[in-house]
């Protein structure tokens, strides 16, 4: 088995209307239930908007803290799932489902290693 990070990329700016979001959220919830039932979920998370992010850098003991996300852009990571499946084809299959639910592009990236609390 191998672990993959599925990253959901969202456009910045005002969130879409509740009428638009409601059916999407239902589909995402259904997808979340599926990975839970399939027993492949390692971790899932959704993020607050990128303007809530803070970047910290240290340089020879000096700390520089700046407001905003690290990478400039019109899209940012909005949420992610780590799944444990046999191979890339399997990971891509689940990513297709997530893209279909969110209507957003999903980046699939293999984990080189990882550990969990507990």
């Amino acid at each position: 088995m191998a672990q993959y990070l599925l990253s959901i990329y969202q456009p910045d700016g005002e969130p879409p209307s509740p009428e638009f979001l409601e059916p999407i959220m239902k589909k995402v919830e259904a997808w979340q239930n599926e990975i839970q039932e399939a027993g492949i979920r390692v971790f899932s998370g959704g993020l607050h908007p990128p303007d809530t992010a803070t970047v910290v850098r240290t340089d020879e003991g000096r700390t520089v803290t700046t407001d905003g996300p690290y990478i400039e852009g019109k899209e940012h990571l909005g949420g992610f799932d780590v799944i444990d499946v046999p191979d890339l084809d399997e990971a891509l299959k689940w990513a297709r489902g997530l893209s279909d639910a969110t209507t957003l592009p999903i980046e699939v990236r293999p984990l080189a290693f990882g550990s969990c609390a507990g």
């Binding site: 191998a2 046999p86 191979d87 890339l88 084809d89 699939v108 990236r109 293999p110 080189a112």
Partner: protein, 415 residues
């Protein structure tokens, strides 16, 4: 009895390299190890076969020897601590018994098919798919592939090793896709083989018009795919298209190596055996009644092959086939080729009207077609300028010479 020559061993290498790498990849679970082992085995063959003769089953011998070498190497390297982690990366398919005789057994999914699907996986960049396919299934060296793509060998080596690393780290599986993804994945394989063929047919650059080895490799792989996954009309269509293209090769260049266009080719130099096989395949695909772009292109080539002379060509039939192709694959390049056929039915003015609306500025064939149509309409000065534009957009020496010759002929006619 005399032993095999280096050429004989070279032929076995070409025919069996892909199969050996495919079997060893399944057994060892790692492409690099499989390639090293197969190359070791061929080195041994070069030493031994001239004295001992070629074994009854060369493929079986290569695979058995390669497997033994791989095991020796793994043992040696596992003894060293640094290499231990590397050995852990191996994940051989468990429960698969190794039987060198099974390589020729019917009914067992061919390992080469798994390897084709791995090499042409959509998660790899298209350029890498072509390179990996030529390398792992065709047995071409990195230097040869680099020459095909006109990049430095180091660049190609990096591209191939990056693709192999992605296969390993992202775990691109070594397996035949599931039925629901099969159509899409098979399309990806066919487009790789088509790219290999078109690059061989008219090389992007260089002193030769065509790369005959590359064409032969594309035909060999298309034949293999058509045999491994039978009943796929588009694969058969692709094979037919390649064979019909190959049939014209002897007539595509003249005595001095210059390009000869379809209209001016000496059709007695066309290869009848290839035409017969290509046409039989086209007729075979018609029975399925599931047309697609490769089958339609093959049908167009078959109509050309039927005409004893250029003047005898059934242009109405060809335009009708291009209409079908436009419906299946509506690209500007298809529209351009359709216009060339339409010029023979409705005249150059109608064709030029269509061509002028196409957005194909960087494509040299677009300008060559325009130049020809302009010349036929008597717009000689514009035609000369357009031939010059076309020349500037191709790096194939033979094509450049041809375009410049056409321009000079036109200029001569002005005087």
């Amino acid at each position: 009895m005399t032993g095999p020559s280096t050429a004989d061993i070279g032929r076995v290498f070409r025919e069996e390299y892909g199969r050996a790498v495919a079997v060893l990849t399944r057994v060892l679970g790692d492409i690099d190890l499989a390639e090293d082992a197969v190359q070791d085995a061929f080195s041994t063959a070069v030493e031994r076969w001239p004295g001992e003769g070629v074994p009854p089953s060369p493929a079986g011998w290569i695979i058995t020897t390669a497997r033994r070498r791989a095991i020796d190497r793994a043992r040696r390297e596992a003894a060293r601590p640094v290499k231990h982690a590397e050995a852990d990366l191996l994940h051989p398919v468990s429960g698969v018994a190794f039987d060198p005789e099974a390589v020729d057994s019917p009914g067992i999914p061919d390992d080469r098919l798994r390897l084709i699907f791995t090499c042409c996986h959509p998660a790899l960049a298209p350029r890498s798919r072509v390179a990996l396919t030529l390398r792992l299934l065709g047995g071409l060296t990195t230097a040869q592939i680099a020459r095909v793509f006109l990049v430095p060998e180091a660049t190609m080596a990096q591209r191939i090793s990056r693709a192999k690393r992605k296969i390993r780290d992202a775990r691109i599986p070594f397996r035949i896709p599931s039925p629901d993804e099969f159509p899409e994945r098979l399309d990806a394989v066919r487009s790789v083989l088509y790219l290999v063929y078109t690059e061989g047919h008219t090389t992007s650059t260089g002193p030769e018009l065509a790369d005959t080895d590359l064409c032969a490799e594309a035909v060999r792989l298309a034949r293999l795919l058509d045999g491994l996954v039978p009943g796929e009309p588009e694969t058969t269509g692709l094979l037919a298209l390649m064979l019909l293209g190959e049939s014209r090769r002897p007539a595509r260049t003249g005595r001095g190596g210059e390009l000869v266009l379809l209209a001016d080719q000496d059709r007695s130099r066309w290869d009848r055996a290839l035409i017969d096989e290509g046409q039989a395949l086209v007729r075979h695909t018609l029975r399925w009644n599931r047309p697609g772009p490769y089958q339609i292109q093959a049908a167009i080539a078959a109509v050309h092959a039927e005409a004893p002379a250029f003047e005898d060509t059934d242009w109405a039939q060809i335009v009708a086939l291009y209409d079908l192709l436009m419906a299946a694959d509506p690209t500007p390049v298809v529209a351009l080729h359709r216009a060339v056929a339409l010029a023979e039915v409705e005249g150059p003015a109608v064709a030029l009207g269509i061509v002028d609306r196409l957005d194909l500025e960087p494509y040299h064939v677009f300008h060559a077609v325009r130049a020809d149509l302009l010349a036929r309409l008597g717009r000689i000065t514009e035609a000369c300028e357009t031939y010059a534009t076309a020349t500037a957009r191709t790096a194939n020496t033979i094509e450049r010479a041809h375009l410049l010759r056409r321009r000079d002929e036109l200029r001569g006619s002005l005087r």
